[in-house]
């Protein structure tokens, strides 16, 4: 078991190196490089650009820039924001709580929708409940997040006035009820999209498990149907779901870009769109690396959890 985790950990290192190279090249191999926005600005003199280029080390060969960026990044030195000069790590950390709050609540709500939907659909396969949830799930997968967010905003914020249309709290306010009201619409968007994918996955996994001989054996022993489904089948159908939930949660660290920007939620997703509008490359690179690293790390956690649950995998 320990050896297995160690081996997976060692595999994650080259993976992260490839990702870092990809992210670095995406920005530095672009025409004009990180200073493109200054090049197109007639108010910035060429000698200033030259000075900036030297100060940021952009006159160095590309491979040396990559190595120094990578080693600094690994040590937690993420550089300074192009737009306001503050340390990138500081800007990321101040936005992190809002994103974690939104992601956390959305994942919990999505799980509350996924389990009943997935399990009952599998048990009642082919009946109306299954067909209804399957239809809803396909609709959810096809739903463009930004449009769904805009529609919720039009109907529930602007039209009915039940919920605020943007932000995390009312200015100056901030009691629990106020925060819950601000959370409602963005959580509705994210939870619906997540639950749509997850419930289909759980349904498939449950149907597969319910067809296994050990389930028939449990039934034959006279164990009540409820218990067979929940204790025997669900427990075994759970493992594949764990991975996909963890991965989606990791992607949400920046994957909530759309929802956060429509609802002006002050998290990492909004930070990303703001940084993109100002071509704030140090922030963009940090956010991409942060998300990818989280994905790789949670993948590792999921694999280890797998191996712990099922000893056959690590051998």
């Amino acid at each position: 078991m320990g050896v297995y985790v160690l081996r997976r950990l060692l595999q994650a290192i080259p993976l992260l190196l490839v990702i870092s190279l990809l992210v670095f090249l995406l920005i530095h191999a672009a025409p004009g490089g990180p200073l493109a926005i200054y090049l197109s600005n007639p108010n910035v003199r060429p000698e200033d650009i030259e000075r900036l280029r030297r100060a940021l080390g952009l006159d160095q060969p590309l491979w040396r820039q990559y190595l120094s960026w990578l080693s600094a990044f690994a040590r937690g030195d993420w550089g300074y924001s192009f737009s306001d000069g503050r340390p990138v790590a500081e800007r990321v950390l101040e936005r992190l709580p809002a994103t974690l709050e939104l992601t956390g609540v959305s994942v919990v709500v999505a799980l509350l929708l996924t389990f009943p939907a997935g399990v009952f659909a599998a048990v009642l396969r082919g009946r109306w409940f299954d067909r209804l949830t399957t239809a809803l799930a396909v609709a959810g997968i096809s739903l463009p997040a930004f449009w769904f967010a805009l529609m919720l905003q039009i109907v529930f914020a602007i039209g009915l006035g039940w919920f605020p249309s943007s932000g995390r709290t009312t200015f100056g306010g901030g009691d629990i009820a106020d925060r819950a009201q601000h959370l409602a619409l963005p959580v509705a968007v994210l939870a619906c999209l997540l639950a749509a994918g997850w419930s289909r996955y759980l349904r498939g996994s449950m149907i597969e498990t319910l067809a296994q001989p050990f389930v028939s054996a449990a039934r034959a022993r006279g164990i009540p149907a409820r218990q067979v489904v929940l204790r025997h089948a669900l427990r075994n159908a759970l493992a594949p779901i764990v991975t996909i939930v963890l991965l989606d949660a990791a992607l949400m660290v920046s994957g909530a870009v759309v929802t956060e920007s429509v609802f002006a939620w002050p998290g990492l997703g909004s930070l990303f769109t703001e940084a993109l509008a100002r071509r704030d490359y140090t922030v963009l690179m940090a956010l991409l690396m942060l998300t990818s690293t989280t994905v790789v790390a949670l993948n590792l956690v999921a694999d280890s959890a797998y191996a712990l649950l099922d000893p056959r995998i690590s051998s």
Binding site: S142, L143, P144, W147, L150, M151, I154, I158, V295
Partner: protein
């Protein structure tokens, strides 16, 4: 018929997009400043925008861009995915290892933010946008193509063909790829839905298809400033994105079911 309605809807959409100059009641860039910001009416079924342009006409012309980008990106993604996945599966060893690590790496980077940066940096034309989305979406098909080739390579008919003297090119072209086709086609169908959503998201953030050309995504981008007063500007383009993605996904499901039968 009832079972194929998703395909019928798709075909109708493609036909309407192709015939936009005939079907559309107005030109997509025809300004009518005396009829600005009008609600849907008999003269303008989907209403008009802030310049008095007919929203229905723009949705129909936008369909050409959105559908073309969606379909062609999926072709690019599918072709590169098959090339990468099949080489990995066929070559095995170090090549396989290298290609699959690259696939893992690409899958770990969040796709939409990655594309948003790439598009913001390169300010792509529509053709370049197709390439960008395609190049960012080959991974799923590559994994499937690899798995198919791996399992087919071990089958008796492939061994037999090799024993009869078939070369590598013939093995791949005549034996492996045709048998891997069903699974690959299904994964490409899913890529179409994903590509349409990606294009519209990029245009929604203002880094995809640029105005004055209409795409469903950039119509939504422009609608955002007048949600309260002119909700129809946001409603209709989004309904078409949703409907198209839904039809593609349902058609894909049907293909999966047929392939498994």
């Amino acid at each position: 018929m009832r079972r194929h309605w998703a395909a019928v809807v798709l075909a109708a959409l493609i036909a309407a997009a192709a015939a936009a100059p005939i079907v559309a009641p107005y030109a997509p860039d025809e300004l009518d400043l005396s009829h600005r910001r009008e609600r849907p009416s008999r003269a303008h079924w989907f209403g008009t925008d802030e310049l008095g342009r007919d929203v229905l006409a723009r949705v129909l012309y936008g369909a050409r861009v959105s559908l073309a980008v969606g379909l062609l990106s999926a072709v690019v993604a599918g072709a590169s995915g098959v090339a990468i996945g099949a080489s990995a599966g066929y070559a095995g060893g170090a090549v396989d290892n290298l290609l699959m690590r690259a696939t893992d790496a690409m899958l770990a980077v969040p796709r939409l933010p990655l594309l948003m940066i790439a598009a913001a940096v390169s300010q792509p034309s529509v053709a370049q946008l197709v390439l960008l989305i395609g190049v960012a979406s080959w991974m799923e098909t590559a994994r499937i193509a690899r798995a198919e080739v791996l399992s087919l390579r071990a089958r008796d008919f492939v061994t037999a063909a090799r024993a009869l003297g078939a070369g590598r090119a013939r093995l791949i072209a005549a034996h492996l790829l045709p048998n891997a086709a069903p699974a690959v086609i299904v994964s490409m169908t899913l890529a179409v839905g994903r590509s349409i959503l990606l294009e519209s998201a990029l245009s929604f953030f203002g880094v995809g298809v640029q105005p004055p050309a209409a795409s469903w995504g950039n119509m939504l981008y422009q609608a955002q400033s007048a949600l309260g007063t002119e909700p129809w500007l946001a409603l209709f383009p989004g309904l078409f994105i949703f409907g198209t993605a839904l039809s593609v996904n349902l058609a894909g499901d049907r293909l999966v079911a047929t392939a498994q039968r």
